[in-house]
């Protein structure tokens, strides 16, 4: 309601109940009231006054004090006790002006008093004042009713949004053994979100996102973030590519002022590699077993949805770890949390809360420290924390390639049989230097293979095979990188830096990949071949590649591919590799024990 100059608007005509046993007062007062434009009704006693009040619900009551049986005070008290939501002003008509009388009147619920005999001027003045107050009160009531309607509608929407968010956020995949998380919304719905999933090769992707807005508005951010994250992780894309995709969606779909601060982590527990992309969130902490900081990550990027795709920066920070450690991710709500004095919790608060705390207790310690910091004050921003345990995963913890037995050996003799390419389907693709620089080739091909029914169940194995063959062709065939570079503390970073440089300078080179369905001895097989335009190598003599090679510490090695495939052969000058994969075998990645060899040999091989 706006304040305005001059007298406030008033109820022009009120229903006034006059309770008085004096005929004279009644006559005069009703005459005055009608003259002012009000509608009088009359009661001659306290008891009648109560009845008429209940029946007519007047806007205002004029109550005589001195009446037989029930006096004005008692009647007033009873009227007020009828208790409606509305305030009905009650004015006593009295000859008594002593303080006690006035005080008693107010005590029983009276709002004012008039001295008899009633003067027109005084009566009008008082009634006008009350009329203004009543008008204001009626306006308040109306606004209150409107607010109630909006409130209910908002609650409904929140409920729907909450449901939607629950469905999208896929709480089940957040139960990865390496991940702990905690989200504390400032309002009913959090604008913060944690998502986690594994690539087919077992790399853990974790995303902690903080979208602008709380409550219902927050849920708008969720869909364009969560969908690409899960879909692309399942296809084996890297986190930088996923970040870029999400950036594009938010930029395109949401208004300019909406963006999402995000931290992406890719943890490869087998390679012991951490990869980080942070934009707009405080950078993650990396803590050792004692809870001390091992590395300071930077926060180089803008939040998602701000930059155009052309300006988007895909650079990630990579780190090799050689001891068990923990990544602590959080949104700015945790760092900027204010105590009653207005002091922020800060990165220092974060670090202090977890120093010298054993890894499994750190999340609880952090929650305690934050609650203590708040000291009863409410958070005004959502808080979210994710803790990723970086260790060494053993083979059996995670459907690991090492655990896969060579059931494919049983059909090795098939290699000798004639292969009939029955032309069901085949795909051939040639990727030149320019595209090699940015294309996510393996996920692209894997996405394709997943569409093929016979290949779908084998995505995990095929992802490993394709990745190994393609990366060898690129890293060794075209870029002439030596895997031994990866050794040592700085090894991985040096290797990646050299790789990046050589890839940027690559000219006149290409990799061809073929995927063909073939049949060998009545078994459906997939032939995968990769040909690069490099100089090749002597594959018979090469220790890592030859039939007796062991899996090296870095990378799974071609030996794993040999174990998964019926055959692996090199051709040409070593620049062509051809692998044959049995699509009829049970996919090893599922938790089904491999059938005994004998059973396989018995079936139509």
């Amino acid at each position: 309601m706006m304040l305005q100059a001059g007298p406030a608007p008033a109820l022009t005509s009120m229903k006034v109940l006059l309770v008085d046993d004096s005929q004279e007062t009644v006559l005069i007062a009703t005459k005055f009231l009608r003259k002012m434009g009000h509608q009088p009704s009359v009661a001659r006693s306290g008891a009648e006054g109560l009845r008429v009040f209940a029946a007519e619900r007047p806007d205002l009551v004029l109550m005589d004090v001195v009446m037989p049986e029930m006096d004005g005070y008692e009647a007033a008290a009873r009227i007020k006790a009828i208790g409606t939501d509305r305030w009905v002003p009650l004015v006593f008509l009295t000859a008594k002006t002593e303080d006690e009388a006035v005080a008693r009147g107010i005590e029983v619920g009276g709002d004012d008093y008039l001295i008899k005999p009633i003067s027109f001027v005084t009566l009008k003045a008082k009634l006008d004042a009350f009329a203004r107050m009543l008008h204001m009160q009626r306006q308040l009531e109306q606004k209150s009713a409107e607010l109630e309607v909006y409130y209910r509608a908002s609650e409904d929407e929140q409920h729907v949004a909450g449901h939607l968010m629950n469905q999208l956020v896929r709480a089940d995949s957040l139960r990865d053994p390496l991940l702990e998380h905690w989200i504390e919304p400032a309002h009913n719905l959090s604008g913060d979100l944690v998502a986690a999933a594994r690539t087919p090769a077992g790399v853990l992707h974790v995303l902690l996102a903080d979208g602008t807005g709380h409550g219902l508005a927050a849920s708008l951010n969720v869909l364009p973030v969560v969908d690409p994250f899960y879909a692309m992780t399942a296809r084996g894309h890297g986190v930088a590519a996923i970040a870029r995709e999400i950036n594009g969606k938010i930029k395109r779909w949401l208004p300019v002022e909406r963006f999402v601060a995000a931290t992406f982590i890719a943890l490869d527990p087998r390679e012991r590699m951490i990869e980080v992309w942070t934009g707009g969130n405080p950078p993650p902490l990396l803590l050792d077993r004692q809870g001390r900081s091992m590395h300071e990550f930077s926060n180089p990027h803008l939040p998602l949805g701000v930059l155009s795709q052309a300006s988007f920066d895909m650079h990630t920070e990579r780190l090799r770890y050689d001891q068990d450690c923990q990544l602590i991710l959080c949104s700015d709500g945790a760092v900027e949390a204010e105590n009653p004095d207005g002091t922020q919790f800060g990165r220092k608060g974060l670090a202090d809360a977890m120093r010298d705390v054993p890894p499994e207790k750190r999340l609880d310690c952090l929650k305690l420290a934050l609650n203590k910091h708040f000291a009863g004050r409410c958070a005004h921003d959502d808080i979210s924390v994710a803790i990723v345990n970086c260790g060494q995963e053993t083979a059996h913890q995670r459907r690991e390639p090492d655990a896969w037995t060579g059931a494919a050996d049983a059909v090795a003799d098939v290699a000798a049989a004639r292969l009939a390419a029955d032309g069901e389907w085949s795909v051939r693709t040639c990727i030149t230097a320019r595209e090699l620089r940015y294309l996510d080739t393996v996920p692209m091909l894997l996405g394709l293979l997943k569409q093929v029914r016979s290949a779908r169940a084998h995505s995990a194995e095929l992802s490993v095979i394709l990745a190994e063959l393609f990366n060898n062709a690129l890293d060794h065939g075209l870029l002439k990188l030596d895997s031994s570079l990866k050794r040592g503390p700085e090894g991985m970073e040096n290797f990646l830096e050299m790789r990046r440089r050589r890839l940027a300078q690559l000219r006149d080179a290409s990799i061809e990949i073929g995927l063909e369905s073939v049949t060998a001895g009545n078994r459906p097989m997939l032939r995968i071949w990769v040909k690069d335009t490099g100089a090749g190598f002597d594959y018979n003599e090469h220790p890592a590649v030859g039939p007796d090679a062991e899996a090296r510490p870095h990378g799974r090695g071609i030996t794993l591919v040999r174990r998964l495939c019926a055959t692996v052969d090199y051709h040409g000058c070593g620049n062509v590799v051809c692998a044959l994969y049995d699509l009829a075998q049970r996919p090893q990645a599922q938790d089904i024990p491999a059938p005994p060899r004998a059973a396989l040999a018995d079936c139509d091989a």
Partner: protein, 101 residues
């Protein structure tokens, strides 16, 4: 949030004071309107020296301002960014989008 606008030659200085959050949405928008529409003004300086609190919706409003300023071919600068305000701007890397002093 208290505000103050001053136009000096080709520069509009919009000073904000208090909490710059979602509740300031309409006010901020209407504040910047005249400066954006003025033919003489070529630069908008948003003085955040007396802002005690800045959240992500304020960042969103700045992004919106930036877009409108681009369309009107005017520059936007953020001045007197200190303490908590500076920290929020730094965490969001807004230095890449605005000149911040």
């Amino acid at each position: 949030m208290h505000t103050n606008t001053q136009i000096i030659a080709d520069k509009a200085v919009i000073s904000l004071q208090g909490r710059f959050d979602f509740s300031a949405h309409r006010e901020f928008r209407s504040l910047c309107g005249p400066a954006l529409e003025s033919k003489e003004v070529r630069e908008l300086e948003i003085d955040l020296g007396r802002v005690e609190y800045l959240d992500s919706s304020a960042l969103g409003m700045l992004l919106l301002l930036r877009e409108r300023a681009d369309e009107a071919r005017k520059r936007v600068r953020l001045s007197n960014c200190r303490g908590a305000v500076r920290q929020v701007l730094d965490t969001a890397n807004f230095g890449k989008l605005f000149q911040i002093t």
